[in-house]
């Protein structure tokens, strides 16, 4: 392996930072969902990089990565259903429009 | 593998794909015309009235990316198609799974090209292609699984070798029928031609010209070729056959399967996207699950290799 572990981890860390930015800065719920998907992506990359360099004999980490991918897919599904519901009721998925509960 | 060998194999796959796609492109309209189909869909060599509604104001990034991505998908897919036990671009351990995945790039290409053209009709392609993807992807996977279970491997070579004695089509007629239907859906051939329908001016065909139109034709011909080739690997025993040399058998089976799919498809009226989804989820998916159960039972009974 010519490319060291740190290089992969740095890519994952930068992905994570971009995901955090997207989750904070975006105001459309769908875009926030996409930011969360980037976060999950960073987790997967981190896991697989650690797996390859730290403990390649045990494939458990790949199962964890599969669980992460599953979680991402399920979140996408239910998130889009939630947004479909919101859009049908209020014609908007901007999170700023949902600020009635206060106190 | 040395650099030279990689280059040789890449060129080999490319040449084989281009030749095969050209053959498909010449052959397909004849089959369809003889079956009496007037709406040609992706089979059309040229447009009936020439290119219509070319994109006046396309997205500078996505529009050219569309055909390139689609051709790349076809090209990557061709890598695992075997013409003989040793005559294959690259024998991957997870070959069939890889094939399913990379062929998806065609849908991605259609979506990019359709949306990027920035005209109403082409944007429609995007919706229709995605709906078609959603309808074929699960039953198609189930059709693959029947053959994979019996061969006990994901490698295309191993699957073809497992059928030396008996082709899987004999053991799993249901799976083969399922593959015919979902394969036609994956290849956008009649009766599943919604993304290329006349009502939206032939989709991406109507909004592109020049090298892009050429690449679209290459990828759309190539996808039919690959679907037929994969079908003959999965169910018709690949290169296995008496007398004739291996590659010839493979080519013959591919062409025969292609003609069968087109001829059968021409018997039915074109289906709308909603009908496709209903067909897929209400009929094909249960059939696919039943096939998986049947194959499991057959394996338990000791059938197959």
């Amino acid at each position: 392996m010519a490319v060291p572990l740190t290089a992969y981890l740095v890519v994952a860390a930068l992905l994570f930072a971009i995901g955090v930015y997207a989750v904070i800065a975006q105001r459309s719920a769908v875009m926030i969902l996409m930011g969360i998907e980037v976060l999950l992506n960073a987790i997967g990359l981190n896991l697989i990089a650690f797996w390859r360099f730290v403990n390649p004999g045990d494939y458990s980490a790949q199962i964890f990565a599969i669980i992460i991918i599953t979680v991402g897919a399920v979140e996408m599904g239910i998130g889009l259903a939630i947004m479909l519901l919101l859009y049908r009721n209020r014609s908007s998925v901007q999170v700023d429009d949902y600020a009635e509960l206060r106190g | 593998m040395t650099g030279g060998e990689i280059l040789l194999r890449s060129v080999g796959v490319l040449v084989a794909l281009v030749l095969g796609a050209t053959l498909t492109w010449r052959l397909e309209p004849r089959v369809l015309e003889s079956a009496g189909v007037t709406e040609l869909g992706p089979a059309a060599g040229t447009h009936p009235q020439g290119p219509i509604g070319l994109a006046p104001n396309p997205d500078v990034w996505l529009y050219p990316a569309g055909p390139i991505v689609a051709v790349l998908g076809v090209l990557f897919g061709a890598v695992v198609i075997p013409l003989g036990p040793d005559l294959v671009g690259q024998d991957l351990g997870i070959g069939v799974f890889y094939f399913i995945v990379v062929i998806d790039f065609v849908v991605l290409g259609l979506s990019l090209g359709g949306w990027g053209a920035n005209v109403r009709n082409a944007a429609e392609v995007y919706y229709r292609a995605v709906a078609q993807l959603v309808s074929y992807v699960v039953p198609l996977g189930l059709a693959y699984i029947g053959a994979i279970m019996m061969a006990g491997s994901l490698s295309t070579i191993a699957i073809a070798q497992a059928q030396e004695g008996l082709w899987f089509v004999v053991l799993q007629p249901l799976g083969f029928a399922l593959y015919l239907v979902t394969g036609a859906m994956q290849a956008y051939r009649p009766p599943f031609v919604e993304p290329f329908s006349r009502h939206i001016e032939h989709g991406v065909y109507g909004s592109s010209a020049g090298w892009q139109a050429l690449l679209w034709r290459l990828s759309m011909s190539g996808v039919l070729l690959l679907v037929a080739a994969m079908g003959s690997v999965l169910y018709l025993g690949g290169w296995n056959g008496p007398l004739l040399p291996d590659p010839l058998w493979m080519i013959l089976k591919t062409l025969a399967l292609m003609v069968l799919m087109l001829w059968l498809g021409a018997r039915f009226r074109p289906l709308s996207t909603a009908e496709m989804l209903a067909l897929s989820w209400k009929v094909l998916t249960p059939v696919g699950l039943a096939n998986v159960l049947l194959v499991g039972g057959l394996i338990l009974l000791g059938a197959g290799p």
Binding site: L9, F16, G19, V23, A29, I32, L33, I36, L39, L40, A42, I43, N46, L47, F50, V54, N55, D58, S60, A61, I63, F64, I67, I68, T70, V71, V74, E75, I78, G79, I82, L85, L86, N89, R90, V95, Y98, A99, E100, L101, G103 | -
Partner: protein, 487 residues
């Protein structure tokens, strides 16, 4: 490795979970069939309740089993898991009754029980999981059905807002937490909590442990509604139907405590990474902020939300010393049991009020003691218990908490907690004064009677439970002492 594949399928170890999962799967078609079909709509609720009772019985039978791990060291079967499962199941059972009571005669009767079963299943898995992958999986299984429950009334504006906030915050918190978990894997090369703990205790890099702990804590703190990760709770509790708020305020929170305790006790033994100090700080912050904000509330559900945040702060006191004080675990368990009963009692009264009056404004509670004596009494007892008045369960629980805190040399935190309890008395008693001292508005039409047998059952179970736990604390302590039995 292939040789040992078959030996890990210890299905006998998860009978309670299997009952819930099987019943949940069965309810999917049953709910589709009974949806909108008159009296058939009660069938899923009845089935689910039976299933929860059966799972309770099965779990109770396991209590005296020897501690062991099953599924190749990925799933723990010990006193800790059993007691937490009992708590989760009883919370789910009472909440189910309240939900059925609130939605009696509505379409939601059919599919609410199914979502509730799956969420409970996730919580139960979380209390047993020993593997990082399973932890993430069960956390997600806990949240997904909760979204469905929160948005049971799909056309309600407040519900819509609640589910959007719940979803986004939960998903982000889970992602951040999983990122932290990957670093633990990187430092130790293992996904099992036990071996992670063994590897980290010796020569882990402190900087990375603290960073990973911080990231992971975000996920658990979200479930436990600790300040500053609590901001979703008031909105979700007040946006969701009151009976569902009761469920969401109890089951995910208990599961969060179970998961967090198991995580720190196994993966960060003996306070590695300084988690006790972090937890202490969070406890101080949570109880103070929760109580201060609760003072200003004008709606019952929001008030209860902030009160439940403050209660989470109290429970953190023994958690912070769980690794060194022997009685800490049983104090946590006892208080969680008390919290479960009194909180569900309060929320089911809110649910009754929402059903009959359509509001949860505190002002609308005026004179409730004269018009509807039973619910008023239940609410008053629940609030008194939350405030910690003897002889109710909340009092005994608070005594245990403070005792453990003193044993663990957290005197300043105990003093702060005591001050907070006095402060909290103000708003709890304020509500009770509204119930009994104020007269209802003269032009207000009297509330319809008909709390129904389901409400009476909910009130009865939760209030009697609060009383019994409070009067005979040793009963509860005997059970929660089992929490100390870890694998």
């Amino acid at each position: 490795m292939p040789s040992e594949t078959a030996s890990c399928l210890d299905l006998w170890a998860i009978y309670p979970e299997l009952v819930l999962a099987g019943l949940g799967l069965l309810l999917v078609p049953v709910a589709a069939f009974t949806h909108g079909r008159g009296r058939w709509r009660y069938l899923p609720g009845g089935l689910a309740f039976t299933g929860i009772v059966a799972a309770l019985g099965l779990t109770a039978r396991m209590l005296d089993w020897e501690s062991q791990t099953v599924f190749c060291n990925t799933y723990a079967l010990d006193g800790f898991a059993h007691v937490f499962k009992l708590l989760l199941l009883s919370g789910a059972g009472i909440a189910l009754l309240a939900i059925l009571a609130q939605f009696r005669g509505h379409n939601q009767l059919a599919h609410a029980p199914m979502a509730l079963l799956f969420a409970t299943l996730g919580g139960m898995g979380l209390s047993s999981a020993l593997d990082l992958g399973l932890i993430v999986l069960f956390l997600q299984m806990l949240s997904l059905p909760s979204y469905v429950l929160v948005t049971l009334v799909r056309t309600d504006r407040a519900s819509n807002e609640a589910v959007l906030k719940y979803f986004i915050y939960a998903a982000a918190a889970l992602a951040v937490m999983a990122y932290g978990l990957t670093f633990l894997y990187g430092m130790t090369g293992s996904l099992e909590l036990g071996s992670i703990g063994a590897a980290l205790a010796g020569d882990g890099d402190q900087v990375w442990i603290v960073l990973a702990l911080g990231l992971i804590l975000i996920g658990y703190a979200f479930e436990m509604t600790l300040v500053p990760f609590h901001f979703w709770a008031p909105d979700v509790y007040s946006g969701a139907p009151a009976a569902v708020s009761g469920f969401v305020s109890v089951v995910p929170k208990i599961a969060g405590f179970a998961g967090f305790l198991r995580f720190v006790l196994y993966a960060l033994p003996d306070g590695t990474g300084g988690w006790p100090m972090l937890v202490t700080l969070l406890a101080a912050l949570t109880m103070t902020a929760g109580n201060l904000v609760a003072l200003r509330q004008t709606h019952l559900k929001r008030l209860l939300a902030y009160s439940s945040i403050a209660q989470a702060g109290y429970i953190l006191i023994p958690v912070a010393v769980a690794h060194e004080v022997a009685g800490a675990m049983s104090a946590v368990g006892y208080y969680l049991a008390a919290y479960l009963l009194m909180n569900l009692a309060a929320f089911s009264v809110a649910s009754l009020w929402e059903r009959t009056r359509g509001t949860d404004r505190l002002a609308s509670l005026a004179g409730m003691g004269f018009r509807q004596p039973l619910p008023a009494l239940v609410l008053a007892l629940a609030l008194l218990s939350l405030a910690g008045i003897p002889p109710l369960a909340g009092f005994a629980g608070k005594v245990f908490l403070l005792e453990v805190g003193l044993e663990g040399d957290l005197t300043w935190l105990v003093l702060l907690a005591a001050a907070n309890m006095v402060l909290a008395l103000y708003y709890y008693v304020g509500v009770i004064a509204k119930l009994y001292l104020e007269r209802p508005a003269p032009n207000e039409e009297p509330a319809k009677a008909g709390s129904g047998v389901l409400y009476v059952a909910t009130f009865g179970i939760s209030t009697l439970g609060t009383l019994i736990l409070g009067v005979f604390p040793s009963l509860g302590l005997q059970l929660t002492d089992l929490l100390r039995r870890l694998v």
